[in-house]
Structures are given as C-alpha cells and as structure tokens.
Symmetry: C2
Subunit: 344 residues, 2 copies
C-alpha cells in the first residue's frame, strides 16, 4: 500500500499523488485532484511517515526523559508535554531513567538514533555522562533543573519555600522543622537553601536539629517527621520538601497521636492531586507541572524552528521561570505556642 498504488488506481503518476497529498498550492487540475482523492479514500491510503522522515529529515517525534512516571510529580508534566506535542502533530517517546546514568545515556543514544527532533529532560539527579556531549546535536530543554549550558523551564524553589515559611511565621510559628529531599538534587538543595535563608530573614536562627534529609517518598517523610516529633522540644510546624513526604509526615503525626494542625502544622510542596484528599487537606506550594511541560514543549519547538531557519548562532540560552503558588488548606494553623491567636 504505497503512493504508487494510489497513482495506478487514479491513473496518474506518483508525483501527482504526492502533490495532492501535501496540498501545497502546487497546481493540480481540479479534475485530476478529485480522481486522486477518490483513489486515496478508496484504498484508505496514509503516507508512510518513516519514508517521509528519511527524506525530509523531520520525524515529528520528540523524546521525554524522566526519572519515573510512577512518581506523582511527572504525570502532569508528561501530560503537558504530550498535549502540546500532539496539538502540533508531534509524538512523544517516553523514557524512565530511575536516575540511573547507564539507562539515561542509553536512552539519549536511542533517541538520537531515532532522529528525534528534540529531547525534554525533566527531573534532576541524573548524570548523562558522555551522552551529554551529544545534546548539541539535537534540541534539548530541561525542566525543573537549572542548567548552565542548555535552555530550561524552571520554578524558583528557594523563593517558593520562602513563601511557605512566611505563611507559617505569620501564623506564629517559631520552631519550624524541615524534611528535605536528597542532597544530590538541585531542587532539594534550593528548597533547603530557601528554608535556611527564610529562617535567617525572620530572625529564627538556624538549628541543625530541625532538619532531616528524606528521599522524596512517603516513608522518608514519615521517618523524618517521626524523628522530629519525638524530640523533647518538638517543632510546631514541619515543612516537607514535597507532598509525598508531607503525607508521610501526616501519618507520623497521627501515629504519635498528635493532631494536625492543632499540635503541629504541615506544609508540603508540589500540590499533587491527593493533597486535597488527605485529611487534613494539605497546605502546599503548587507547582504548575502541566504548564512546565507544555512550556518546555513549546520552547523546544520554537528553538528548533529557529535553528532550522538558519538562526544557528543565536543560541542565547533561555531559562523560563514559572510562578509557584501557595495553596492554604487545613494542615496549617496558628502555632499552639503563639499567644494572641486562637487555635480552635
């Protein structure tokens, strides 16, 4: 079932069929066009994209590299990427790296061999090793991971944490603990930095005993919170570096028979779908995950288009920053130790 079959059926040459197919204002006699159209419909013909891609060097395919689609942070990003891609006729190939260098390198090579027109890399912590040298051969855009050499779409993690901290301070909290993510992730470091800076700015010192390093999973948050809440001078608020850990913290408080928010306030980060269904509902920082993905895809296509149109040298790095929003729900309330404000 090729263009030649259609040509035979319509009694014209393959070239004519092609011209009708891509109707690019090329002159074709209306009558002939009808015959071709009819043949196409009769045979239910659809051009082979592989052949087209080989000739035109346009696969209309991009790669999306993420740590793990099962991590609730990535589905929304992926959805943003995919929606934007399909709206423009692009397909998306998914790659889960588990933040493993070998897998990451392998995927990059595979994508490049498949001649993808670009690669979106979301999530930090992955070292691409030698494969990173090949990024120059395609168009790459990073998401949520500040990169010096490549364009990226990010959020301001430190500023976002500061927003959440201000909320807690305004509620009268003075002893605010932090359960961070893995040290090696830039986002973790930025969020921790935002926490520390915020403490200083509010004149709350910097007690190392108030920080735990988690791993961005529920159990990590559970352990960190449990440890913090078991201390003699326990904190009145816990800021978890992501929602999964915050939900773990909620569970830890419950197991220790502490009420949230009466005894301890909890703030998360990400605003995953479940944040509004756990009890109490979770105060958190809402990352525009979908927009992050959609924006990355748009940026990718835009930059690629620019490159294609000869603007090769104009590789002025672009780092788009999207705003994070504080969503106040039921897991935060006035500090039990603060005077002058009632807490139920």
């Amino acid at each position: 079932m090729t263009i030649a079959d259609v040509a035979t059926e319509a009694g014209v040459s393959p070239a004519t069929v092609s011209r009708v197919l891509n109707d690019s204002g090329y002159p074709v006699r209306p009558e002939t066009r009808q015959r071709v159209l009819h043949a196409i419909e009769k045979l239910d013909f659809r051009p082979n994209e592989v052949a087209r891609a080989l000739l035109l060097k346009r696969t209309r395919t991009v790669g999306l590299v993420i740590p793990d689609i099962a991590n609730p942070y990535y589905p929304a990003i992926s959805r943003g990427v995919e929606d934007e891609a399909s709206a423009r006729g692009y397909a998306v190939i998914f790659c889960n790296t588990d933040r493993d260098s070998a897998k990451s390198e392998q995927y990059v090579h595979t994508l490049l061999q498949k001649q993808v027109e670009g690669i979106i890399v979301a999530g930090g912590g992955t070292d691409f090793g030698k494969a990173s040298e090949t990024f120059a051969r395609t168009q790459v855009v990073f998401v949520g991971r500040p990169e010096l050499r490549w364009p990226s779409v990010e959020i301001d993690n430190a500023a976002a944490v500061a927003t959440g901290m201000s909320h807690l301070v305004e509620l009268g909290h003075r002893r605010i603990a932090f359960v961070g993510g893995p040290e090696k992730l830039t986002s973790s470091r930025d969020r921790l930095e935002g926490y520390r800076r915020s403490l200083r700015e509010h004149g709350l010192g910097d007690e190392p005993g108030l920080v735990r390093e988690g791993d961005y999973t529920e159990s990590g948050g559970y352990e960190g919170a449990r440890s913090l809440l078991s201390e003699r001078r326990r904190p009145t608020a816990i800021f978890a570096a992501n929602d999964r850990m915050a939900i773990g913290a909620l569970a830890a408080a419950s197991d220790l028979e502490l009420e949230v928010p009466a005894d301890v306030s909890v703030v998360g980060f990400d605003d995953i779908a479940l944040a509004r269904y756990v009890r109490p509902t979770l105060t958190t920082l809402s990352i525009p995950a979908y927009d992050l993905g959609a924006t990355a895809m748009r940026l990718l296509l835009e930059l690629q288009e620019r490159k294609r149109n000869g603007g090769a040298a104009r590789s002025k790095r672009r780092a788009v920053r999207l705003p994070v929003q504080l969503v106040i729900r039921d897991s935060t309330a006035s500090s039990p130790r603060s005077e002058g404000s009632s807490s139920t």
Copy 2:
C-alpha cells in the same frame, strides 16, 4: 554523518561497515573489522534508525494508548510497558485520549503512519470508531478491557469484588453499599455485577438504594458516600469501585463525623500508592498494574514475532488473566451492628 563517512574514514565500502555494525557472523577480516571499529569510534557514529526502519520494516517502536497518564492507575501500567519495551530495544510512544473518540482515532492513525510494530490500548470507555478496522494491520493488545476480537490482558473484576465482599461479610457486615464507576465502562459493569452476585450468594438481597454511580474520581466517591451515609438506615460498609472514590468516601465519612472503620468500613479497588498513606489506611484490591503492562508488552512482541514468522493464520485469540489480591488494612473492621465480635 553517515555510513559512507565511516567507510571513507576506514578506507572500505559502506557494505563492509554495515556488516561490522550488525555483526551477524558475516565474514569480515579481523584487521578490516578493527579499522572500521576504529573509524566508528573516532566519528562517534550511530546508524540512522529511520533509514534502517524504512528498509527493514522494523521501527522497534510501539504505541501506548491510555485515557490519561495523570490518572493514578496508568503510571504503573505504563511503567510496566516501558520497562519491558526498553529491555527489548523498543521505544514507546504515549497517547492520552481522555476517552475521546476523535482523539483516539487520530492517535491510532498517527501511530500506524509511524509504522509502529504494535499498539497497546489500556483502559476502557474509548470508541475507536472506524480506526478499529485498522487494528488488523498491526498487532494490538488490550489491557484491562475484555475484547472479543483482539488479544488482551485483564483481571477478573467480578471475582475480585467478590473477594472483597466476602471479607466484609466475614466481618459481620450485612448492609453493604456500593459506589460504582461510570456505567459505560466494562470494568465498572463487571465490578457492579460482582457486587450484586456476591450479595445474592450471601443471601443479602439486592437493595437498589445501596448503589450509587460515581465517576472514578475523589469527588464522585465523596458525593456517593455522603449520600449513602446520610440515609436514615445507613450502610455499615461501603465498597468503592476504585481507590480514588474510596478516598473520597473517607473524606465524606470524616465530614459527617463518622469514624472509619468503627462506624463504617470502606473498601477500595486498585491499591494505588496513596492507599497506604491515607488515614485510616485503605483496605483494597490490589491490581497488578505493573505486571499488566509488562505482560501486555511481552504478549505483543510474542504475537508479532509469531506473525512475522509466517504464522499468520494462527491468530488464536489470547486473553491472559492476572490475579487480584485483597490487601487488608485499617479501613475495614467488624460491623458495629454485629454481635459476638468486638470493634475497636
């Protein structure tokens, strides 16, 4: 950067380079091989998969069609598909249909044009319209959606619900309500059927007032449960057709100041990651989502291989069934109305 460049660099013909590349036992003098290998490394050459695909008719790419990756049920399936695919050198193109017919049709056509070697369709409720006729042109496998004409990987929804019902009955529950999913989904109907059959088998009649139709979302479960629990003779247990609705039910009970499981037991279906982090932790039926995806991918490749090896006529339909497991957690306990067993 083509095979010809490598040939020039190594001072041999493209054919020789190709033979070294695909080292298929084809005789190449060791010395020549070394020269070629050296040139490949020096130029960091990797063959163009598009050209290869055009000639060999093997894209080593499959499509995965799902309703919405943001729905917590699909990431695990996707992960199973992707892991199995990448382990065998295949790439996966993702398509989110939102159960929209137009989008679904469009995606199928796009995938076919991209010459994917197969398509995995997960999740029901989508009508592919005329595009379904084209399934015969490729290899298709359905997941969690019994199909008459095509191979599938499923779970026994009705039997699974029956397992959960038996658990509740054993706990002394007699008035068990059900919040179902959308009527139009086969899985919904099967689960409702399992509920009804189970009631009959346990001699509990079939009171229509005990069934609500939800939409598989948290708010749907919330509304359904709230309605059920506001009745004068409220049920002692609620079986939700999926975890998201069960979590909504937990929220509804909480808002009505009912204790789970002391006042009402709740059972979910799916065992999403959050099921063990909501409070109380959720008793549910664990779908082997990852295995469903991985199995579908294996089946797809196996059937395709068979077809490729001439076994065209041997299209004996295969429907693989994977077991569902009851996971008992804290949201179920003895019925408050049952005598002889303590609750608390």
